[in-house]
């Protein structure tokens, strides 16, 4: 049991930023705690300061708006609020679908989108979907602010590019263009479990030629972070998204990504599953496109 642990619930974002600038590595930021509490109980983290941002900052950082064609979600918005939001269902329905199946209602009621993103679990559902949506993360420190594309956010297992003095404040997702759609496929052996592997695909098609104008493919659970399969994506551009191409792309993604073994599943199994999931995600995305 920790001997020294102080709890602080800052009243404003500015105060929170001052605290994390001062305490740095000695502090852990507590949002919903649906991941952090487990790490604390298991002794995987042992901070001297617990900075609770959920209690007082939710009024400032929990929101869902559309501004300048971008869906903006405050980092302390709960999963449940995203799941139920009319705005999300209208603008980025895939996000509401993914949130509906995420964990269970109890965890979604208390856990936050920002907390989930920052935990950097490589099997998490949101990162692959956010990557293919072209999501940017607004991050603040005492004296600066930056906008980080999600695909540049993850460094390693449970590690992001955030410095200890930085706080994720907002998730920005551009509206989905016409002639584009997104699909997400996950493989888990029981509902509510973390996926073995998962694949998200964004496809935009020219409605005259039916050729692919833009594609983004991201895979979760294959490595220490979410991985974008850029080389495989280039196979699609300018091509008609037909069955045998999708098959080829799925195979290429599995080759490009080189999944690693984990304690549950072998890399060979993941390779085979990635081929299938990528193909299915691409197929579903294409099928959903309304010109």
């Amino acid at each position: 049991m920790r001997v020294k642990l102080e709890y602080i619930a800052p009243a404003t974002v500015e105060e929170a930023l001052r605290l994390i600038a001062e305490y740095g590595e000695e502090a852990k930021i507590l949002a919903g705690g649906q991941s952090l509490l487990l790490f604390l109980k298991q002794g995987l983290v042992a901070p001297s300061y617990l900075i609770d941002i959920k209690t007082n900052l939710s009024k400032e950082l929990s929101y869902i708006n559309v501004e300048d064609g971008i869906l903006k979600i405050g980092s302390l918005t709960t999963h449940r609020d995203v799941e139920k939001s009319r705005i999300v269902k209208d603008e980025i329905p895939i996000l509401a679908d993914v949130e509906k199946d995420l964990a269970d209602v109890q965890i979604r009621n208390w856990g936050t989108v920002g907390g989930n993103i920052c935990v950097a679990d490589p099997t998490a559902d949101l990162p692959p979907v956010l990557v293919v949506l072209g999501t940017k993360l607004k991050v603040r420190s005492l004296d600066s602010e930056r906008l980080i594309p999600v695909e540049d956010f993850y460094v390693n297992l449970y590690e992001t590019v955030l410095s200890p003095a930085e706080l994720l404040v907002e998730v920005q997702i551009p509206k989905i263009p016409r002639d584009a759609s997104i699909a997400y496929e996950r493989l888990s052996h029981m509902k509510g479990e973390r996926p073995v592997v998962s694949a998200a695909a964004f496809v935009r098609i020219d409605h005259n030629s039916l050729k692919c104008e833009e594609v983004r493919i991201a895979v979760g659970g294959a490595g220490s972070t979410v991985i974008r399969a850029r080389r495989a994506e280039s196979l699609c551009r300018g091509e008609k998204m037909e069955e045998n191409l999708l098959q080829k792309v799925g195979d290429h993604v599995a080759d490009e990504i080189e999944p690693s073994d984990d304690i549950y599943y072998s890399r060979d199994y993941k390779r085979e599953m990635i081929k299938v999931l990528v193909r299915r995600a691409l197929y579903k995305a294409v099928a959903k496109i309304r010109p």
């Binding site: 709890y7 269970d104 109890q106 509902k191």
Partner: protein
Amino acid sequence: MKTYHVTVRVNGVTYERMVKPTTTLAQLLRYELGFTGTKIGCDQGACGACTVLVDGKAVKSCSVLALQVNNKEVLTIEGLAAGDVLHPLQIAWLEHGAYQCGFCTSGMLMTAKALLDENPRPSEEEIIMAIKGNLCRCTGYVKIIEAIKSVAQQKGEE
């Protein structure tokens, strides 16, 4: 470890205690306040036996820090019945035999209550999705789902 003041309303009564930062809501309820109807199964946020309602929302109390429910309303299994009058869900549990060892029961009932408060006539699929976070090792869930369905149907007839 330093302790901090928390004020919480449980089943309509206000309590004040000093707790450690790491004290969970489950620990506060059971060990500080004596509400042992809430069970700690896995203590990892997986089994849901510890489910209670905070401001009307189902949460796993083992995964919520006590200090985060400061000034909030908590409903535990002890607050489900109105004195001697059982909640319709509790009656349904008895009528359908939706329990064996009873360890998952408090959490399961709280989750079911939250579901019906928000969605009075859920489909079977919605019931199944709603109890996803509550594990039962004894019953195989069938009677639990039937019990919840029976209350949902009753509400529909009202």
